[in-house]
């Protein structure tokens, strides 16, 4: 009889721990979201984790977040380095969402899942190499990423082609991250996600 109570208690503790972790982890995720997110909190309030956006993505860019994400486990997210969002013209992920967690996008420039940030220490363009990969691949070329021509120090002939992110235009699709030619010591471009933007004020 008391063994039964111990088992019951153990089961309750398991679920309580799971629940507590979900609550504790709520609002701490940094996940890159699909197009149509209107803010991480808004998204978390509406997403029922049905997975239809994942099943509607023609590039299989979306996957369900892992259990370490707590309350966000099972929500759709993007690993930009593995497979970025292609900003489909008709946004099938947004169309599939039954609860409006993803909504209100019409143009390819509408999504605001985050913005790209370049690490000047590692990006080879800053060292004078002509790379331009992120600039060329950007779906919003010359709008979200522009090339800033800077004179090379101690060199009268050559110019640096510095990719420059326009935070307000960048959709956070992550294609630049996927294609970045550098990965040592780390990939010098990343997406500051909507969640990070909101939490840290963009830092």
């Amino acid at each position: 009889m008391s063994a039964g109570k111990v088992i019951a208690g153990l089961a309750a503790v398991l679920v309580a721990a799971e629940g507590a972790f979900a609550v504790a982890a709520n609002g701490s995720s940094k996940l890159l979201r699909p197009p149509g997110i209107q803010g991480e909190a808004d998204f978390m309030a509406r997403c029922i984790k049905c997975g239809k956006c994942i099943e509607a993505c023609p590039y299989a860019s979306l996957h369900a977040a892992g259990p370490a994400e707590g309350a966000a486990a099972g929500t759709p997210c993007i690993d930009a380095r593995e497979q970025a969002c292609r900003l489909c013209k008709d946004f099938p992920c947004v169309a599939a969402c039954p609860t409006g967690a993803l909504r209100d996008v019409a143009e390819r420039s509408d999504p605001k899942a985050g913005y790209a940030r370049i690490d000047e220490e590692v990006c080879i363009a800053y060292q004078g190499y002509r790379c331009e990969v992120c600039y060329r691949i950007c779906p919003l070329i010359d709008q979200a990423i522009t090339l800033d021509f800077q004179a090379m120090e101690n060199d009268d002939i050559h110019t640096k082609f510095i990719p420059t992110i326009n935070k307000d235009v960048c959709t956070g699709c992550g294609l630049c991250v996927e294609r970045c030619a550098v990965d040592e010591p780390y990939v010098p471009i990343r997406i500051v996600t909507r969640a990070e933007q909101e939490r840290d004020g963009g830092r």
Binding site: A8, A45, P98
Partner: protein, 299 residues
């Protein structure tokens, strides 16, 4: 003695509809129904698919039904789990008429038949618990029958809604053991795994069907919906010999059969009943039947 033998032979002859077998087939078919789209699309199971540079066939385009138990699309019609939609409403403090359109078909169908038909015939956790029942019997483990009252699950449902409102996310959707099975297979999502583990431990060593009978918030929601169901377990009081075999077989709570067996009600009225058919199968005199009709009490 001879009466008893007569009854036994009657059972053999009057062996009715094989509810349990059919139910298990339905439960498994529904679980597999959601797997067809990802398989046909070539994505496979467990969400392992990663695309490339070109657009590929998606599960959404490859089969008329895709999604999960939380929301699916069938021939272009969106269905939303009504309880999930309710959690979204309170979590987002917002309402969109489209949600009503999505949740109504399920609510109406389950409402008209019986709320907890979902539990008995669709929910994969019920199937798991029936497997645990079988395992427990094999292992000769003794557990308690009703350690928690059955209406607790209604308060669990209310609690989930209150918590969803306070925490601003659909709470049960984050912890649901149903998701672990259904979405684990379709998407590789592991959310709710610990809940399922806890359920299996509790079922095996503590209380017989304690999750489904007394705790599950979704079951609590459907218990409330089930109070108006038009398909019910009917009893023929003249045929009933009061052997209580139906109560022993009941997957919900033996109590819900009390009024019917005592001759006070023509049907099993409690919203808990999930029309699993266990009582009908167990009845030696064929005095129980599942059929349409909801006569008022004392008929």
């Amino acid at each position: 003695m001879s009466d008893g033998q007569n009854n036994e032979t009657q059972v053999k002859k009057a062996k009715g509809f094989p509810f349990t077998v059919v139910r298990h087939v339905v439960q498994i078919l529904i679980l597999m129904l959601f797997l067809i789209a990802p398989i046909v699309a070539g994505w496979g199971l467990f969400g392992g698919m990663v695309g490339g540079d070109n657009a590929i066939a998606t599960p959404a385009q490859s089969f008329p039904l895709y999604g999960t138990l939380s929301s699916s699309t069938i021939f272009g019609i969106t269905l939303i789990d009504p309880f999930a939609a309710l959690q979204t409403v309170v979590a987002a403090k917002a309402f969109d008429p489209a949600w009503l359109v999505g949740l109504l078909p399920l609510l109406v169908v389950y409402g008209l038949i019986r709320g907890r038909v979902f539990c008995g015939w669709v929910c994969p956790v019920n199937l798991v618990c029936e497997i645990v029942d079988w395992l427990r019997k094999k292992l000769h483990l003794q557990v308690q029958e009703m350690p928690i009252p059955r209406h607790v699950k209604v308060y669990m449902a209310l609690g989930v809604l209150v918590l969803s409102a306070v925490l601003s996310f659909p709470v049960f959707e984050a912890l649901s053991p149903i998701s672990f099975i259904n979405k684990g297979l379709v998407l590789g999502s592991l959310a709710g795994g610990l809940t399922l583990l806890a359920i299996i431990i509790a079922e095996l060593f503590w209380g017989h069907r304690v999750w489904c009978r007394s705790i599950c918030p979704l079951g609590g929601f459907y218990e409330v919906v089930g109070k108006i169901g038009l398909v019910n377990v009917h009893i023929d009081h003249d045929a009933c010999i009061g052997c209580n075999k139906c109560k022993k077989a009941c997957l919900c709570d033996p109590q819900i059969l009390d009024a019917a067996v005592a001759g006070e009600d023509a049907i099993v009225r409690a919203g808990d009943c999930m029309l699993c058919g266990k009582c009908v199968e167990a009845c030696p005199t064929a005095s129980l039947a599942i059929k349409p009709g909801r006569p008022s009490k004392n008929v």
